[in-house]
């Protein structure tokens, strides 16, 4: 056998070995909402998850962790079912699974049914803190945990792989990442090969690690600063899921910097100082006024608040940043939103994408969604806001929630009527 033949054989078998299980055969149409096989077509460029991480089936990196690093799963998944399946018709492209942390555990849920399908208890001495996603396959996530004491105290890293219909349905395995500081931002590259980690402080550093080996691939630093989309408030925990994003081609990392701007750096840029080699994509907290009146109460301003989530897409017009926005009448000097409520004003509270395209250096703002709810039933609370969990690349479909006065609307937001398709909220997360 020639060398080429040998290589073809070994290569095809290596590629094939990435498949370890298959979903069960369905000879008849499943009841309820579900997707036809065609509906499961992936639109990988549009998969950008924030704080909660939807999922859908397994590949990427993991065998790597198992095969190369020879780690053992930290835990067998516990299969649970906590909700009665509903019958929701979801738009194409919307992933079926997601993962989140609750009380130190990691839960994997079905977005459509609201059922918790897998639950991981934390490894001994570790409190699982966050889930970050996701790769193109939508089945691979990074989970962070915190070990309070002992050797290796600090941040612990795990890989979460979902196998819908497989046995086990999910696996949690340690990732060999040498980072113990609490990360300000974490994001897996869509191709599943790299993990970006942002560490705030003095200096602040942005690093890119190999998912396979934990090796440091790139590092940039700034003298001091915070990777954050919003200024930290007293008693609040900055959302590390909001600080970093990869471009769909896994070639750029965008980061929120000092709650003032969203900057971007190419991963092939030589290591060194971060800020001089970064380009600013959009500023945070900018109030816009040039919006159609239906998007604003009494024709007043819209504030795009990146604290509620932002997203990067690579549209036909170039790079774009989008963020959730709330629409409020502009309070009079000395007046709060709650004052407006009490005085009888209507607050239109919406979720949407506000895109800031950089075209020839100037921003061209577009609003892609309409407000979906109107409420004015009491005073605002700290967690009020629009939380984006996922958007498609065009910003026309959003999974997320509106939280106002402790009341949450969670579901799929689309332009037009009915606008909101309610989904069973993941239990235990106040944002949902």
């Amino acid at each position: 056998m020639t060398r080429a033949e040998d290589l073809v054989r070994s290569t095809t078998r290596a590629i094939a070995s990435t498949v370890g299980d298959v979903p069960p055969l369905r000879l008849e149409q499943a009841p309820g909402p579900l997707r036809s096989p065609a509906r499961r077509q992936r639109h990988s460029a549009s998969r950008w998850w924030l704080g909660f991480a939807p999922v859908a089936a397994a590949v990427a990196v993991v065998l790597l962790a198992v095969g190369l690093v020879l780690v053992k799963p930290v835990q067998n998944a516990t299969t649970t079912a906590t909700a009665t399946p509903t019958h929701v018709v979801v738009p194409d492209d919307v992933p079926e699974y997601y993962a989140w942390t609750q009380a130190g555990r990691v839960l994997v849920g079905n977005l459509v049914t609201g059922a918790t399908v897998v639950s991981f208890e934390p490894p001994s001495g570790v409190y699982l803190t966050a889930v970050y996603g996701t790769t193109d396959d939508d089945r691979t996530f990074v989970v962070t945990g915190d070990r309070a004491r002992g050797t290796g105290a600090g941040t612990q890293w795990y890989l979460l792989r979902i196998h819908p219909g497989g046995t086990p349905q999910a696996q949690l395995t340690p990732l060999p990442l040498p980072v113990r500081q609490a990360p300000a931002g974490v994001a897996i590259s869509p191709d599943g090969t790299m993990l970006a980690v942002a560490l705030s402080g003095s200096p602040a550093v942005l690093r890119v690690y190999s998912m396979a080996t934990g090796a440091l691939l790139h590092a940039w630093s700034a003298p001091a600063g915070q990777f954050a989309a919003a200024k930290a408030q007293s008693g609040s925990v900055p959302g590390a899921a909001m600080a970093l994003r990869w471009s769909p081609d896994s070639q750029h990392v965008a980061y929120a910097w000092n709650a003032t701007a969203i900057d971007i750096v190419g991963v092939t840029t030589p290591d060194g100082s971060l800020l001089p080699i970064s380009a600013t994509m959009a500023k945070i907290g900018t109030t816009r006024t040039a919006f159609p009146s239906q998007y604003t109460a009494a024709g007043t301003a819209v504030t795009c608040d990146a604290a509620h989530g932002w997203d990067v897409v690579q549209g036909a017009q170039g790079w774009a940043v989008a963020c959730a926005a709330t629409w409020l009448p502009t309070p009079a000097p000395g007046q709060s939103s709650a004052d407006l409520c009490r005085s009888g004003h209507t607050i239109t509270f919406g979720i949407g994408m506000q895109s800031a395209y950089q075209v020839n250096g100037s921003e061209n703002l577009q609003l892609a969604q309409q407000p979906m709810a109107t409420e004015c039933s009491g005073q605002g609370r700290p967690q009020d806001g629009a939380y984006i969990a996922w958007t498609n690349a065009g910003g026309t479909v959003i999974i997320g929630s509106l939280v106002l006065n402790g009341h949450s609307r969670f579901g799929i937001f689309t332009d037009g009527n009915p606008g909101l398709t309610p989904l069973p909220p993941p239990p235990g997360n106040p944002a949902w």
């Binding site: 590629i15 990435t18 299980d21 979903p23 055969l25 000879l27 397994a58 990427a60 790769t135």
Partner: protein, 176 residues
Amino acid sequence: MDIADRQPSSEAPAGAAALVTALYAEHALGLVRLAVVMTGDRASAEDIVQEAFLGLYRRWGQLPDTSAPLAYVRVSVLNGCRTALRRRARPGLPASEGQHAESAEARALLSEEQRAVAAALRNLPQRQREALVLRYYLDLSEAEIALAMGVTRGTVKSATHRALAAIGAALKEGSS
């Protein structure tokens, strides 16, 4: 697709579902792997295999020879892969859909040389790629490959020869 479309023909034996399900249990993993090698995409591969078995189930009663259902499903899977690859190649699709690439996991598992081979495989004409995969991944004989691809043995031989030459040339080019 309507539910009615998913029923086997009236001539299908009552045990068709059980037979197809058993066949799936035995061969689905191998066929998904084949489809992953062909398409580079796990989700598409699973869909292709699922559809192939559904097709087998629906047409069970019309099969000329139910003693060799695996060959029928394998041909269906190859057809599904061709359709998927044609769809990707269609102009107007976003770049990420039009690309043919191995999964993130595969990228991580392959050596540099194997990645070069994988890239060269992706660049081969469809028929040549099929011939190579069936020959060197499935270890099929020329006759079996010819049957699966619906071509003559001579075509299989020439496609394999050209494909190997192209792979060799790509490797030489990459190392120079």
